[in-house]
């Protein structure tokens, strides 16, 4: 008897915490998005779907922009991370752990502080652009801060290790003899890469996309620190609707829309790749 109860007793405290502070808040938020009222007089559940219609119409631009930034960031991440993961997995030898440690080094500095540090580096007369402008290599009017380029650079910077690691794990598992076999069968290095290495690395790429696309699209720190009013992302809108205007129903509706869109995107992506492996990785 004691033995059969043991797993439940072990799970209970943590499970309760997750139920009370993850599941219940999500339900509260969904319900609040369908309520009408204000902070002072309280809210009444009226099933007011119009909030969703209004919120999406008003903030369509920011929502679409966030998804586009998220998608561009994810594509750049795959391109930037793959060679690094490939090098460490196949040529890292005894220094694999050292390389991985160096990649993770920036994480010992606060996310906000690192992003602000980029602002100092990229500022118009800062340590990067200042000397280049003094040397006449750049026009005085040239600037990076406040542009989409700065925001996407910041996003790529902050999420790069989350793409390198899963791809590295997938590549690390590849038996080198499989690649040798392909070469023995007269595959060119490029063909062996395309037909053998890359397909085997795909689950890692998928895990990387899962770990980066959602946080990148919903990020509001990079856009707030490195961007301008023309790069406002949906995260900033939600943040200010909640914390500045206390417009809870609209903010809740936007949060839910964002989460729904991201989840649909992730699943559509999984279906498009269509492999069993990919779904297994996602389920893990």
């Amino acid at each position: 008897m004691r033995h059969r109860l043991a797993p439940y007793l072990l799970v209970l405290p943590g499970g309760l915490w997750l139920l009370l502070f993850f599941v219940v808040p999500m339900v509260t938020m969904l319900s609040l998005s369908l309520q009408e009222g204000d902070v002072v007089n309280g809210y009444v559940l009226t099933g007011h779907w119009q909030t969703y219609v209004d919120a999406i119409t008003n903030y369509r631009v920011q929502l679409v922009r966030s998804l586009i930034y998220g998608a561009i960031t994810t594509v750049l991440l795959i391109v930037a991370a793959f060679p690094v993961a490939y090098f460490i997995a196949f040529y890292g030898r005894r220094r694999k752990a050292t390389f991985l440690f160096l990649l993770l080094l920036p994480f010992f500095v606060s996310f906000v502080l690192r992003t602000i540090s980029w602002r100092y580096i990229l500022t118009d007369e800062g340590i990067l652009l200042g000397p280049l402008k003094d040397a006449g290599l750049l026009a005085d009017s040239f600037h990076i801060l406040g542009t989409p380029v700065a925001v996407i650079l910041g996003l790529v910077y902050n999420f790069l290790p989350f793409m390198v690691l899963p791809i590295y794990v997938a590549l690390e598992r590849i038996d080198p003899r499989v690649v040798e076999a392909a070469r023995d069968l007269y595959a060119s290095p490029l063909l062996a890469f395309r037909k053998v290495v890359f397909p085997l690395a795909l689950p890692g790429v998928f895990a990387g996309v899962l770990m980066t696309f959602v946080p990148a699209s919903s990020d509001y720190v990079n856009s707030a620190v490195l961007g301008s009013s023309s790069t406002t992302m949906i995260g900033q809108v939600i943040q200010s609707q909640y914390l500045v205007s206390s417009n809870y129903p609209t903010a809740s509706a936007l949060s839910f829309t964002l989460m729904a869109v991201l989840l649909i995107g992730v699943f559509a992506y999984a279906r498009a790749l269509g492999t069993e492996d990919v779904m297994k990785v996602a389920a893990r």
């Binding site: 043991a6 797993p7 439940y8 072990l10 799970v11 405290p13 943590g14 499970g15 915490w17 997750l18 139920l19 502070f21 993850f22 219940v24 808040p25 999500m26 509260t28 609040l32 902070v39 809210y43 930037a80 060679p83 690094v84 090098f87 040529y91 390389f99 440690f101 990649l103 080094l105 920036p106 994480f107 010992f108 500095v109 606060s110 996310f111 906000v112 502080l113 690192r114 540090s117 980029w118 602002r119 580096i121 910077y157 790069l160 959602v214 699209s217 919903s218 990020d219 509001y220 720190v221 620190v225 995260g235 909640y242 914390l243 809870y248 809740s252 949060s255 839910f256 964002l258 989460m259």
Partner: protein, 256 residues
């Protein structure tokens, strides 16, 4: 191969650049709070690191919340991770699903939904609500680390203990627990790191309380004082030392 090596080092340099800038500008002899141009080398900010009361208080709040998160999430996450790794039971699928959901939901949405809960319950925001939120998103990470360790545990060691007359309780505390302790430790370190660095969820659940990342965020518009660079550098060094220390120790243990 040579190109790949050069590229990898370039990426590492790019990743480290903002960290170096942060460290270097902690030694900047800047006259005011405008710490963006180099005005010569000084060590004075290290002497005045705790000179800004609000910043120091924010750092203390961050540390207290992180230690509490580490302990609570460590205990609760270990329970879940051990149960999932050791037993087959009804509802384990649901737990797995919820854990996956907490790890893949946008932080923004988790923070926002907690805010709606606290607001609708009329709970005052502060260090307690920050801790509740941090424990919530850390539990799953601890559980995953512990579960992985429990799954790879050699059951025959526990059977040997039972054969030698140890009861279930003794076997757990004398044999099983020491074996999973490294995983519990790394899970707790992970929880601490997640907590002390968190900005997004904290921003929603803090109210008027300030943590280290929140203080930095609030001060960005007026300019960051060099003390922030100094504290950032010290946290960086402590983190790196702990990481190097545990890696060296665990590689020694695995070699022995």
């Amino acid at each position: 191969m040579k190109i790949l090596r050069a590229y990898t080092w370039l990426v590492i340099a790019w990743l480290t650049l903002p960290v170096l800038v942060m460290i270097v500008f902690g030694f900047n002899d800047t006259p005011g709070r405008y710490n963006q141009t180099w005005d010569g080398f000084t060590l004075k900010w290290y002497g005045k690191v705790f000179a800004l009361d609000e910043l120091t208080r924010a750092l203390v709040v961050s540390l207290v919340v992180a230690v509490l998160t580490m302990l609570i999430a460590g205990a609760l996450g270990t329970g879940i991770g051990y149960a999932l790794g050791r037993y087959r039971f009804r509802g384990s699928g649901t737990i797995n699903l919820i854990m996956f959901a907490t790890m893949s939901s946008p932080e923004l949405v988790m923070g926002a939904s907690l805010l709606t809960l606290f607001v609708s319950l009329g709970v005052g925001l502060g260090a307690a609500t920050i801790t509740i939120a941090h424990v919530m998103f850390s539990i799953s990470f601890v559980a995953v680390v512990v579960r992985a360790r429990v799954l790879t545990l050699d059951r025959s060691i526990e059977e040997a203990a039972a054969d030698l007359g140890a009861n279930g309780w003794t076997t757990f505390w004398r044999v099983t627990f020491p074996l999973i302790l490294p995983a519990v430790g790394s899970g707790m370190l992970l929880a601490f790191a997640l907590s002390i660095d968190d900005f997004v969820v904290t921003n929603f659940t803090a109210g008027t309380t300030t943590t280290f990342p929140l203080w930095i965020w609030g001060a960005t518009r007026v300019g960051l004082p060099p003390q922030v660079n100094v504290m950032g550098t010290l946290i960086f060094l402590v983190g790196v030392l702990i990481a190097v220390g545990t890696t060296v120790r665990s590689s020694r243990v695995s070699r022995a």
